[in-house]
């Protein structure tokens, strides 16, 4: 038995050395480690050996097995490096005439939906505004009436930035957990009347599952003028739902707490599937209404911090989750698909 092992060892170490292509190396690997490979089959003969013999053969066999595996792996690297060296001989020409392959491209479903709602609100004079995704704790929370150590912070489990690498030492930095960090920036940059919208990526400390994402988009509009009121919230909610889903979908506001607004409101839409009368509706769970977003009258503290006099002006903030909307409309059950890069998913849109 020892001899047999030693023979395989010698023969294959030599063979491996001679190999020049990855394909040949794969073949050798199969000859040894495949289903009917020599190394695979050998231990089946061990039960025939006497104990004393076995004591010597087993460790020897294991050693040879490991050695062969390692040698193949090393050789594979060498063959690869060999081919990498040949890359220098290749040519680079970007202008050579070429027929571009016919492919059907697809816009990401979130891009499609966000474009749609941006168009809907631009008809009312809302314009887009960008805000940083990494921002100070102050701009993201404190300035909006969300002080440190307030229980309201539990609403948003936040990811913080390690200032060491960011190089910016002065303040605590966060990955913004909502688009509302744009609010204070627009108030400071422009004078009312204001009609702005922010669409963008936000982050939260969430463990991933079909319903939870640590990375998601928000769509938020800010409207500040004289006499802005909760009737406008109702109007905007209805306007949005009708434009997106058609005329029979009604909107409903309900009381809800968000620290950056007062009064605060939750936005419900009549279930787009059962139209509010499906006891057995799976989408709304028989409630007839779907929770779609959050809104409210901008908190006077936030207005003041933005340099706007709350006695002269009032404002509203209104927001929805594009992912949630697209999931409802398209019947998508796993939120993680949006950022999976899975082409089978993306090619459906």
């Amino acid at each position: 038995m020892e001899e047999k092992i030693s023979r395989i060892q010698k023969e294959y170490l030599e063979k491996i050395k001679q190999v020049l292509t990855l394909n040949d190396l794969d073949e050798i690997f199969l000859e040894l480690f495949g289903k009917k490979g020599q190394i695979t089959l050998l231990p089946k003969q061990f039960p025939r050996l006497i104990k004393a013999e076995l004591k010597i053969v087993t460790p020897y066999f294991n050693k040879v097995k490991a050695e062969l595996e390692l040698t193949i792996r090393k050789r594979r690297e060498e063959v690869r490096e060999e081919s990498y060296r040949k890359l220098s001989e290749e040519k680079f020409d970007l202008t050579k005439p070429l027929i571009i392959k016919k492919r059907s491209g697809h816009l990401h479903p979130l891009t499609q939906f966000e474009k749609k709602i941006a168009d809907i609100f631009s008809k009312l004079g809302f314009q887009q505004y960008d805000a940083p995704q990494i921002d100070t704790d102050y701009m993201t929370f404190q300035v909006l009436n969300i002080p440190e150590n307030s229980p309201a912070r539990d609403l948003q489990d936040t990811l913080y930035i390690d200032n060491k690498n960011a190089g910016f030492q002065k303040e605590k930095l966060v990955l913004r957990s909502h688009t509302s960090n744009s609010e204070i920036r627009v108030m400071k940059q422009f004078k009312p009347p204001l009609r702005l919208m922010n669409i963008g990526r936000c982050f939260r400390y969430e463990n991933l599952d079909a319903r939870h994402e640590h990375t998601f988009d928000q769509f938020e509009i800010v409207y500040i003028d004289k006499g802005v009121n909760m009737g406008n919230l109702q109007f905007l909610s209805e306007y949005f739902l009708k434009e997106v889903f058609g005329t029979e979908i009604r909107a409903r506001l309900r009381t809800k707490y968000y620290p950056q607004v007062e009064p605060g409101a939750g936005i419900d839409g009549l279930c787009i599937f059962c139209k509010g009368n499906g006891q057995w509706c799976k989408v709304c769970g028989g409630v007839g209404w779907l929770e779609l977003g959050g809104a409210g009258m901008i908190h006077p503290v936030a207005l003041k911090n933005g340099g706007i006099d709350p006695n002269e002006y009032s404002g509203l903030a209104w927001g929805i989750s594009p992912e949630r909307m697209v999931m409802i409309i398209e019947g998508i059950e796993d939120i993680r698909l949006f950022r999976s890069g899975d082409l089978k998913f993306l090619e459906k849109f």
């Binding site: 970007l94 200032n163 009347p193």
Partner: protein, 569 residues
């Protein structure tokens, strides 16, 4: 907060059915997490309503929104159990008054540990609390009823029957009731006796002073602790108890006294005898007064409320109103002690609006002038560019803003230059991307593994670049990746890109190639010959390259992959 339905019905003469009630609560008060035949669970996450963490608070709000009456008095009784008894004091030393403004201890003797009656066990079970023994159950029951935290110590296990409230010493250790050993900091507030630590204030007690079968004398603690201090300690130990939750939201002195009084009465019914008591701190709640004008109310809600409506709604909720004259149409509103969340006029406006019903507020079109135009070029460019790329056959992907461990390991990326998350959820969310193409390479690999022979994808998104004296820079980038099965994909990629640029109406993007040379895109990740800069108006804005096979191999991609990345401005 789990609200026991049976218990609620004892506290309120409900004028509506449970079915009507569960539809009304989310409209008027707070969202519901779950409804069963035994309890309804309020969605308290992040909420500001301290009163809704008590059965009485919930009962008050439900009575108000359903036009029902509660069966209990909001006022304190005059004949507290301890009044006029001339009882000795329990020894208390408070070392840190700001963190513990009120501290009361009652000593009760002659108790016998046993089981609680069934109705108590049921109330607790509905509330999500396990019955332990008759002594401990009373503390939990009253916490649920009043929202005031309350703790019982076995008096024989408190050295010298002396309670000391103090900050821990750094590095001191303490084993909490859940059996975990905690290493404390000098910010953690403790209850101790002269010899040892008894409890992590307001969060969790310790094993040593727990009620056991042999307990017959207890020291009953009701106190008010500083919410911020308790929150910090809770967070540090990731230890959130029913008690700490209530302290964080805020406690009131009126509730505290009612809780203590009721507790003593209940222990007396068990045969206990009150033998000593200490009440330390200011025990009266200061009632806040907030001004409300009809003008502000009506302008913010968009409805013409009558003075009668305003008064009716607020009175039902326990507010008292002093009119400041018909012509002014203004009130000085006194906030009931249990509504710690009402501080400004807007808070009152919300109360009126929710009592009226948000759903009845009629829509109003936006009025007023349109604001002046602001620069929308970047947003338009991004969308037009995406559309053009799709037209020439590319599919848009979105990837995380992080580098996965696969990307970091396979590319052996230099982490020193990356923006880093201080509290990552896992190693997959620790480092923020500074280029897009590595994520596209990873996506290409995944799809090839799933059987795709041809991958032509792009992403537009932000990258995050540290800056010395400002927030990280967040430019938008476009990246394209192509794996077409051929030996030179950069050729097709570049021509696809050129074709897409031709589709871009209006925005003329003339890009020039600058092949070879040293700099930005000559790095180990790319083919030694196949890389080039892309210039816009003589400025390099990115490049195009074939990914070096050494790295595509690491992702398990056998075919060649080309990538392009440019900055969008």
């Amino acid at each position: 907060m789990k609200v026991s339905i049976g218990w609620l019905k004892q506290l309120v003469d409900l004028k509506v059915s449970m079915e009507q009630l569960v539809t009304l609560i989310p409209m008027r008060t707070i969202g519901l997490k779950e409804t069963t035949k035994d309890f309804i669970e309020l969605d308290m996450k992040g909420y500001n309503r301290a009163d809704l963490l008590s059965m009485r608070g919930v009962a008050r709000d439900i009575a108000a929104i359903t036009d029902s009456k509660t069966n209990f008095s909001d006022k304190n009784p005059k004949d507290y159990t301890w009044v006029g008894k001339n009882l000795p004091e329990v020894k208390i030393q408070i070392e840190n008054k700001e963190l513990c403004p009120v501290y009361c201890v009652a000593k009760i003797e002659g108790l016998k540990v046993g089981k609680s009656p069934n109705d108590v066990v049921k109330k607790l079970a509905d509330s999500g609390i396990r019955s332990i023994d008759n002594i401990t159950d009373i503390t939990n029951l009253l916490m649920m009823e009043y929202g005031q935290t309350i703790h019982s110590f076995d008096a024989t296990k408190v050295a010298d029957e002396t309670m000391i409230i103090k900050l821990a010493k750094k590095g001191e250790q303490f084993t909490t009731l859940d059996g975990k050993n905690r290493v404390l900091t000098d910010e953690d507030l403790l209850i101790a006796d002269p010899k040892k630590i008894l409890s992590l204030s307001g969060i969790m007690g310790g094993k040593d002073s727990e009620i056991t079968e042999s307990t017959n004398t207890i020291l009953l603690e009701v106190a008010i602790f500083d919410p911020v201090s308790i929150r910090k300690t809770s967070q540090r130990f990731n230890l959130y108890s029913e008690a700490s939750k209530r302290i964080q939201h805020g406690l009131t002195k009126t509730n505290l006294l009612q809780t203590l009084d009721t507790a003593i009465r209940m222990y007396q019914q068990l045969g206990g005898k009150l033998t000593a008591i200490s009440l330390v701190g200011d025990l009266t709640d200061v009632l806040r007064k907030v001004k409300l004008t009809r003008k502000k109310l009506n302008s913010l809600v968009g409805i013409d409320f009558t003075a009668e409506q305003v008064e009716e709604y607020l009175k039902k909720l326990g507010f008292t109103l002093a009119s400041q004259g018909e012509t002014l149409c203004a009130w000085e509103v006194t906030v009931p002690y249990w509504r710690l969340d009402i501080n400004i006029e807007e808070d009152l406006i919300e109360e009126v609006a929710r009592m009226y019903g948000y759903e009845k507020i009629p829509p109003q079109k936006l009025r007023g002038k349109l604001p002046p135009k602001i620069d929308q070029r970047l947003f338009n460019l991004i969308y037009d560019l995406k559309s053009a790329l799709v037209k020439v056959g590319l599919t848009e992907v979105q990837t995380y803003s992080f580098y996965s461990t696969d990307v970091l390991n396979n590319l052996d990326w230099d982490k020193q230059s990356l923006v880093m998350v201080a509290n990552p959820i896992s190693t997959e969310t620790e480092y923020l991307r500074e280029d897009l193409w590595p994520n596209l390479l990873e996506v290409a690999a995944k799809n090839i593994k799933h059987g795709f022979k041809d991958v032509a994808i792009f992403e537009v998104g932000k990258v995050y670049l540290p800056q010395k004296s400002d927030l990280p820079k967040e430019p938008y980038r476009l990246s394209i990746a192509l794996c077409n099965g051929g030996e030179n994909p950069s050729l097709e990629l570049y021509q696809i890109f050129q074709k897409a640029l031709k589709h871009l109406a209006g925005e003329k993007m003339q890009l020039h190639l600058r092949g070879g040379g040293k700099g930005l895109y000559e790095n180990k990740y790319f083919h030694p010959k196949r890389f080039a800069f892309l210039d816009h108006k003589d400025q390099p804005i990115g490049g195009v390259a074939e990914v070096h096979q050494r790295f595509s191999d690491k992702f398990g991609i056998e075919k060649r992959v080309a990538v392009l990345e440019i900055e969008l401005t």
